[in-house]
C-alpha cells in the first residue's frame, strides 16, 4: 500500500488540540445556550466552573487554530475550478462521485468549511471578550455586550454546524480519517478524491 504524506505531525497535533478544545468550549457554551443543555455544566464541575472555564477553552482554541489558519489559508483560496465543482456538489451528495471534476489538495466543500470555521472563530474570539466576566465585560457598554452575546451565539452555531459537516465528511469519505490519525493517505485515495494533488505529489518523484 503506497502512502502519501498529507499532514505533518505538528499540524495533526495542533488539529487535535483544537478539536479537543472545541468540544470543551462547545459543551460548556451550549450549557448556557439552552436550558435543556444546562446539564453539560456537570462535566466541568457545575455552572460557575463552566462559566469560568469556557472563555479559556475558547481562547486557547482560537489561538491554536490561528496557527493552522495562517498555514492553510493559501491552499484554501477559492478558484473558478472550485466554483465549477461546487455547482455539481449535489450530484456528489447523491452518490455520483464520477461526475466531479478533479480537485487539488482541497475541494470546494472543504474550502468552504475552512472559511466558515475561520470566520466563526474570529467572531467568537472578538465577541467573547465583550462579556467575559469579570475581566473584560465592564469595559464594554451594555449595548455592545448585547450585540456581542448575539453574534457570539450565532457564530457558535455556525461553528458547530461547520464541525458537524467536517466530521461527517471524514466519516463519509473512507480513508480520509487516517490523514489526521497517521498523517498519510493511500495513493488510491488521493488519486480518486484529490487527483490534481495526487499528480503534484507524484510528479516530483519521477
Amino acid at each position: 500500500m503506497k502512502l502519501l504524506q498529507r499532514y505533518q505531525d505538528g499540524d495533526r497535533m495542533r488539529h487535535w488540540l483544537v478539536a479537543l478544545l472545541f468540544f470543551m468550549a462547545a459543551f460548556s457554551g451550549l450549557a448556557f445556550f439552552h436550558p435543556a443543555l444546562y446539564f453539560f455544566t456537570a462535566l466541568f464541575g457545575g455552572g460557575a466552573w463552566a462559566r469560568i472555564l469556557h472563555p479559556f477553552f475558547g481562547l486557547a482554541m482560537a489561538l491554536i487554530f490561528a496557527g493552522l489558519f495562517f498555514k492553510l489559508r493559501h491552499e484554501n483560496r477559492m478558484t473558478d475550478a472550485d466554483r465549477a465543482w461546487r455547482a455539481r456538489a449535489g450530484q456528489l451528495l447523491r452518490g455520483d462521485k464520477g461526475a466531479m471534476p478533479p480537485v487539488g489538495k482541497y475541494n470546494a466543500g472543504q474550502k468552504m468549511v475552512f472559511w466558515l470555521l475561520s470566520s466563526c472563530l474570529l467572531l467568537l474570539f472578538i465577541t467573547g471578550f465583550m462579556f467575559w466576566q469579570p475581566w473584560f465585560a465592564n469595559a464594554f457598554p451594555i449595548l455592545l455586550r448585547r450585540i456581542g452575546v448575539l453574534v457570539h451565539a450565532a457564530s457558535a452555531v455556525g461553528l458547530i454546524l461547520g464541525v458537524i459537516v467536517h466530521v461527517y465528511a471524514a466519516i463519509w469519505v473512507k480513508g480520509t480519517l487516517r490523514a489526521m490519525t497517521r498523517g498519510t493517505v493511500t495513493e488510491a485515495w488521493a488519486r480518486q478524491n484529490h487527483a490534481l494533488w495526487y499528480q503534484d505529489m507524484t510528479r516530483l518523484r519521477k
Binding site: 450549557a31 436550558p35 462579556f131 451565539a153 458537524i164 495513493e187 485515495w189
Partner: protein, 289 residues
C-alpha cells in the same frame, strides 16, 4: 436573597417547565413619589441595615449621590438631578434608584442558570444568589442597568424588594423608614390609585405633565414612580422613557434558541440518514495499489 416562598413562583430563569405556583399572592407594588422625597437617604440606610450590607466608603464626586452608583452592597441609591424645566426655575429631582421589578424581567430572560432568578406571583423579581454562576447576562438583559456583579464572590446582586419581609407580611425596609411617606407599599392596584391621587394633586399645583411611571414596555413594573414631569422621565437621572427588553436580547433568548438547537440536531440527523441512504465514498482500487 433566598427563596422563602417556593410555592408561588411565576417565572424561573432557564426553566422550560412550569414553576411551583400553587399559591397566588396578590400583585404588589412599591410606589415612590418623587415629589414628596426630601432626599434624606433613610431608605438607603434602612436597606443596608435590613439586608446587612456595608459598602466601602467612597469619594465625593461633586454631587449628593452617595455612593456614586448601585453596587453589590448598595441596592438602592438616591439620584439627585438639578434641572430647569422652566427657565430660571431650578428643580431638584431626587429619585430613589434600584431594581424596578419588571413584570417582564429582562434579567430573568437572559439568565442561563436554572432558578438563579425567579419572579414570585406577587411580582417581586429575586436573585437566588447561590444558583448564580456570575456570567453577567442579567446585566446585559436589564433595561434599567440595575444588577451588579460582586468582585468578591462573582454573584449578581440587586434590590430584592425585601422579599423576605414581604413574604411574612411586612413592608420593605425602605418603605418602613421613609419619614415623608414618599415610599409606599401595597397591592399594585392600590398603589396606582394612590399614585393617580398624587398626580391629580400635582396637576392642580401646576405640574401639568405629572404622571405615574409604570412603563408598559416591560409589562409594567412593581416599583412605580410618581413623577412631576412624567413626559420627560430622562430628567430623573436618565430614567428611560420607554424601557423594554432589547430586541437583541429577545432574539438571542427567544426564537434563536430553539431554531439553533433544532438546526444542530437536524444536521447530525441529516448526516446519519445521508450515510444510511447514499452510503460512504470508498476508495475503489485500494487493494491493487
Amino acid at each position: 436573597m433566598s427563596s422563602l416562598q417556593s410555592l408561588d413562583i411565576a417565572k424561573r430563569s432557564a426553566t422550560t417547565t412550569p414553576s411551583p405556583q400553587a399559591r397566588h399572592g396578590a400583585e404588589i407594588a412599591k410606589l415612590i413619589d418623587v415629589s414628596s422625597c426630601i432626599g434624606c437617604k433613610a431608605c438607603q440606610v434602612a436597606c443596608m441595615q435590613w439586608n446587612d450590607l456595608r459598602d466601602d466608603v467612597g469619594e465625593n464626586a461633586g454631587s449628593y449621590d452617595n455612593p456614586r452608583d448601585l453596587t453589590p452592597q448598595s441596592w438602592t441609591v438616591m439620584r439627585y438631578s438639578e434641572v430647569e424645566v422652566v427657565e430660571n426655575k431650578l428643580e431638584w429631582l431626587i429619585r430613589k434608584d434600584g431594581c424596578m421589578h419588571c413584570e417582564d424581567p429582562g434579567c430573568l430572560k437572559s439568565c442561563p442558570a436554572p432558578g438563579a432568578i425567579v419572579q414570585y406571583t406577587n411580582g417581586i423579581v429575586d436573585f437566588i444568589s447561590e444558583h448564580c454562576i456570575g456570567c453577567g447576562n442579567c446585566v446585559t438583559g436589564c433595561p434599567f442597568d440595575v444588577p451588579r456583579i460582586s468582585k468578591v464572590d462573582s454573584k449578581a446582586y440587586k434590590c430584592s424588594l425585601c422579599s423576605d419581609r414581604v413574604g411574612v407580611g411586612l413592608e420593605p425596609a425602605c418603605v418602613k423608614a421613609c419619614p415623608t411617606g414618599a415610599i409606599r407599599f401595597g397591592a399594585k392596584e392600590d398603589m396606582l390609585d394612590f399614585g393617580a391621587e398624587r398626580v391629580a394633586d400635582l396637576k392642580e399645583r401646576g405640574y401639568e405633565q405629572a404622571g405615574v411611571y409604570d412603563p408598559p414596555g416591560v409589562g409594567g413594573t412593581h416599583v412605580v414612580y410618581v413623577l412631576q414631569h412624567a413626559d420627560k422621565p430622562e430628567l430623573y437621572h436618565g430614567l428611560p422613557a420607554d424601557p423594554k427588553i432589547s430586541p437583541l436580547v429577545s432574539l438571542w433568548k427567544g426564537v434563536a434558541k430553539p431554531l439553533a438547537v433544532a438546526a444542530m440536531i437536524g444536521a447530525v440527523f441529516a448526516g446519519f440518514f445521508h450515510y444510511m441512504k447514499v452510503g460512504p465514498i470508498e476508495t475503489k482500487d485500494e487493494a491493487e495499489s
